[in-house]
Each structure stands twice: as structure tokens, then as C-alpha cells.
Symmetry: C2
Subunit: 331 residues, 2 copies
């Protein structure tokens, strides 16, 4: 397994150029000599050295994937989507966690350049001007995934979070709920939760409903539990729209602890449709984001860029979907 292309050439009685040709199918080679080469390759169990290839061709067939944290809820599904499509197109992925830190994100783009990746799929909680500068300097094909570029300079794949949140509010309002609270971190607009807040506000306002924000510092179970409990003591909403599944479960538990019934007293809608929503009792209505597709589509998009295939748009919007379960069921 450590023969070189030169060994193969000698074994087959041809030049290394010819071996390269049959390897890459980059020119016509006579059937007969091709066979000799193929046999030699098998005999020596030759495998081309991808590093040498990368240096000579300036294509490494690897792409960089920069995510805040693979181990975060369902992020791995997205990565799986990337990897599956990457494999279909003969790419491999270098996976890096940035913790959503600007400095690390910037460093990583540089590192990706060093590694000579053919392209990058980038995820971040919030895109900043520095990101754009870095992208430009690196001169790498980059796709944003589940990350919004408000100015649409970088190609991206996303869902319409504003619309999704509006639909959730509409669903709840349609079931007669008139005091719908939004549970999530108080963040800027150009972020996931930010857009969801925005949609919530739009739809509630349009329907003449008052808005109630249950703001949290972090978006996890424990923080949400405390926040919801506090809210229930002040003013009890009859529906809660949570920024993610974990927080929704916290809301559900907080209600139960306060002697409130879900969905009868308080309906709950979550975001993300992770496994949690099915395993929880009552099961939670949630807005499904196509996590796997996020990755798959982003990677497919990137392959198009890499092959100079025409792309119809630089802003791919994936469909979302409300999955209705017990937590919004009227009896």
C-alpha cells in the first residue's frame, strides 16, 4: 500500500503520465495498456497519495465544516447531511468546532485555507462584518448554513424563521389562545431566535394580541424552567411559543409543577422537532427544521459552486413544517 505512481508505471511498462491518465480518466488510453496499468495497480495494491495529488492539482477534495458545536442538539444531523452528500461527490470533510467565538471562527477560516480545502460550509450564531472580511481574504468558496447574512453577500441555506413563528402563533390563535408568550433569549434580529421573536411579534400584533416575552439569558432547560416558573407567578399566559424544544419541555414541566394542564390550560409550541418532543409527555407540537437537509442542501450547493454549475439563487430557503402533537390538541 505504499507503492508510488512511479512503481506502477514501471510494473506496467508505461510512463507515469499514462498511469495518471487511467487513474483520473483524463485522456483516452488504449484498452490494452489500460489493462496492464490496472493490473499493476492491483498487484502492487497501489493507492494514490491524495496529498501529492492535492499539491499538484490544487484540489484537495476536502471541504471544511465550521460549526459552533457538533454536540449541540441535532447539529450532528446537519453534519451527517453534509457528509452524506460530500461522499456522493467524492469529498471529505474536516470538522471544526468554533464555540461560536468570533476569534476562533476567523482563525478557522485561515486554517481551512492552509489545509487547502476546496470550500467551506460555515455556521455561526450571528454573522459579523469581520466574518465577511475574513471570507474575502481567504478567497474560498463559502456557503452559510443556518446562518443569516442580512446583506446577502454570501450564499446561504436557511428556513424562514419569521414565517415559521407566525404560523405557530396563527395556530395557537386559531385555537382561541389570546395570551401567547414567547420564551427565548433576548437577542438581536439577525439570529435564529431573533427572527423567531420577530415573527411572533408580527403575527401577534397583526391579530391584536398582546405580546409577552419570557426572556432568558441562556437557551437551555434549567434557565427556561426558572424563567417560566417566575412568569407563571406574575401573569399566566394560555400558550407558550418556545425558541427550542428543550425550553419547551421546561415550560411543560413548569406548568405541571404549577398545577396547570398542557394543553388545556397552557398550549405549547416548540421549535426544532428533536427527538425530545416525541419522547416527552405530553408530546410537543413543534416546528420541524429539516436538519439533515440543511447540511445536505448546503453541501450540494457547494458542489455546484465548485463545478461552476449555474445556481439559480444565492439564498436557498428550505421548507419548515409544523408537527402537531398533544401539546396543542383541543379535546
Amino acid at each position: 500500500m505504499s507503492a508510488t505512481i512511479y512503481d506502477v508505471a514501471r510494473e506496467a511498462g508505461v510512463s507515469m503520465a499514462t498511469v495518471s491518465r487511467v487513474l483520473n480518466d483524463t485522456a483516452v488510453v488504449k484498452e490494452d495498456t489500460k489493462k496492464r496499468v490496472v493490473d499493476a495497480i492491483a498487484k502492487l495494491s497501489y493507492r494514490p497519495n491524495a496529498v501529492a495529488r492535492g499539491l499538484a492539482s490544487k484540489k484537495t477534495k476536502t471541504i471544511g465544516v465550521i460549526v459552533p458545536d457538533v454536540s449541540a442538539a441535532f447539529m450532528a444531523e446537519l453534519v451527517r447531511g453534509i457528509e452524506d452528500v460530500a461522499r456522493m461527490y467524492n469529498y471529505h470533510i474536516i470538522l471544526c468546532n468554533s464555540d461560536g467565538t468570533l476569534q476562533r471562527e476567523i482563525d478557522l477560516v485561515g486554517t481551512m485555507w492552509e489545509k487547502q480545502v476546496d470550500g467551506v460550509i460555515f455556521m455561526s450564531p450571528k454573522l459579523q462584518p469581520e466574518h465577511i472580511d475574513t471570507f474575502e481574504e481567504a478567497q474560498l468558496p463559502i456557503i452559510l448554513c443556518r446562518t443569516e447574512d442580512p446583506e446577502r453577500r454570501i450564499p446561504s441555506v436557511n428556513i424562514n424563521n419569521v414565517q415559521a413563528a407566525r404560523e405557530a402563533v396563527a395556530l395557537l390563535a386559531g385555537k382561541g389562545r389570546d395570551r401567547i408568550a414567547f420564551l427565548g433569549a433576548a437577542v438581536e434580529e439577525a439570529t435564529l431566535t431573533g427572527r423567531r421573536r420577530e415573527g411572533y411579534a408580527q403575527e401577534a400584533t397583526q391579530r391584536g394580541l398582546s405580546t409577552v416575552y419570557i426572556d432568558t439569558s441562556k437557551e437551555d432547560y434549567a434557565t427556561a424552567l426558572v424563567a417560566v416558573r417566575a412568569q407563571l407567578n406574575i401573569d399566566r399566559p394560555n400558550a407558550i411559543l418556545a425558541a427550542n424544544d428543550e425550553m419547551a419541555i421546561a415550560a411543560s414541566h413548569a406548568c405541571a409543577d404549577a398545577g396547570l394542564r398542557v394543553p388545556d390550560d397552557v398550549m405549547i409550541v416548540a421549535f426544532d422537532n428533536t427527538k425530545l418532543t416525541e419522547l416527552a409527555r405530553p408530546q410537543l407540537t413543534t416546528i420541524a427544521q429539516p436538519m439533515y437537509d440543511y447540511g445536505a442542501v448546503a453541501m450540494r450547493f457547494l458542489t455546484k459552486l465548485l463545478r461552476d454549475e449555474p445556481v439559480s439563487t444565492y439564498l436557498v430557503v428550505l421548507p419548515h413544517q409544523i408537527v402537531e402533537r398533544t401539546s396543542t390538541l383541543t379535546r
Copy 2:
């Protein structure tokens, strides 16, 4: 960002060898000239091309990670552990999903060779002779992670699943449970669940308890739910040890549906300590596997191998821990 080492050398008025020296700190360079080089690097925003480096040095500073499926429960945590430690030692990871398929696993090891990775961390449901052959042929430093080599030919990091299961049975028996069932797939010994079954059987037998196996074809929620429901109609155990958290939740739900109370009527112990066990109600007692540590320790181990540091053992056994929650609490 696309200057070469040669450009830097010219800019600094030195030879490329000197630039290489300050880059790699591989020999003493006079303070003065070093400064000129550093300045030139900054001026040209030079970044070394890792591919060229890899070809010349035969070290790519990247390691291959082969897992069945990143998106499987908590597998991403393990990968995170790997990546964090890899970063500390200046490595990057190429992540590949094998779906636990022998053919793909073998192919991937070959691909890793092509990519010239410095080492591989390998995970598989069950190690087979073909794996060993492939590893030998590839001549790559390989660490098994959460994967057992019964003949201990390949270095590995694991927990003692037999012991863990025994402790779980002991816990339940200590609380007076005398009909403890094991819920899991009926698989061979040299696998995770296989070892857990083994430990269950050992401890139960030693204590003179009868064994009840609730066998399933797959190890997921839906399959487990059906299996447990069926079992409850035949013969009701007063405790269930589940092969993983998801199945344990199924057991919990099946009990609830049958009008049985957890833990009063049926105690439940799970394996893995994923988030599910905390978010479920009742919360589940579970055996914590140090998922992050699995990856972190495996990667650390690998760095030792790569640096020819002495390793005291080729079989690293990580500590496990029973996390007791409501599902085994006696009131």
C-alpha cells in the same frame, strides 16, 4: 494570502530554508533575521500551505475519525471530545460515517491512507477479522474507541460494560427487586449491549435471581415500546435494565400505559446518561458513560502513539458511574 515561502524569503532577504526554520522553530535563527522573516510574513499575510508541508514532511497533522453515525445519540459528544483534544495538539479531524458497514469501514481506512492522515480513531459496533487485516495493511496508528477487540491486538479505550451492568443489577437487587428484566437487542458478546447482557446475567445468576430477557430487533424507542408492552402482558418484572436511555424511556411509558408506577411497581435503570434521562419524567437512573472523555482520551492516547511517548497500557478502561434518579428511588 497566497504568497509562498519563496516570496517571504525574498521579501526578508533570506533563503526559504530560514523561513522554514522560523516557521517550524526547528533550528536557532538569529533574533534579527527572525524579525525580518516575521515581518515579511505579516506583510505578505503569508500562510504556509499545509498540503505542501504534508507532502514534504509526511505528516499531515490530521487524523481520521471513523464512526458509525455522528448523528446517533451522544456520538457527537464523543466527536467533540476528539476534536477538542486534537486541537490542543494542533491536529484536525476528517470525519466519516460508516453506518457500521464492514465494507464501508474497510474502504474508509483505505481512504484515510490516501489522505495520509497521521492516525485513525475507529469506532464500530463489532470488530471483525477483516478489520484487523485492513488495519495491518494500512499501517496506520489506530485507536479503537468504544469498540472492543476481544483479542486485544489494537489499542482501545472502553468502559467495563460487564461491571457496569452488574452494578446496576446489584443496585436493583439491593432495593429488593427480584424479577429484573434486561431490555435490549439479542446480540453477540463482543459488543456493547452484548457485554451489558453478560454482566446482567452474571450478577443475576450469582444472586440467584431468575433472568428475563426482553429481546428487541432494534434498539430504539418504538421497538422497545412494543416489546415491553408485550412482556408486561406475559410476566411482569419489578425492574428493568435497559440497554440505553431511549429504550428505558419506552419502558417507562409502557409501564405508565399499563397502569404501573415507576419506581413503585417497576424500577428502571438505563445506560448512557443522555439528556433524555433528565428531561424524562420520572427522571431515570442511568449508567453514565463518559462520552466526551471517550473521545478526548482516545485522541490523547493517539497523540502519545504519534509522538512515541511511552504508553503504560494498550487497554484504557474509563470509569463509569451510576447516576441515581427518580426511577429507582424508594420512598
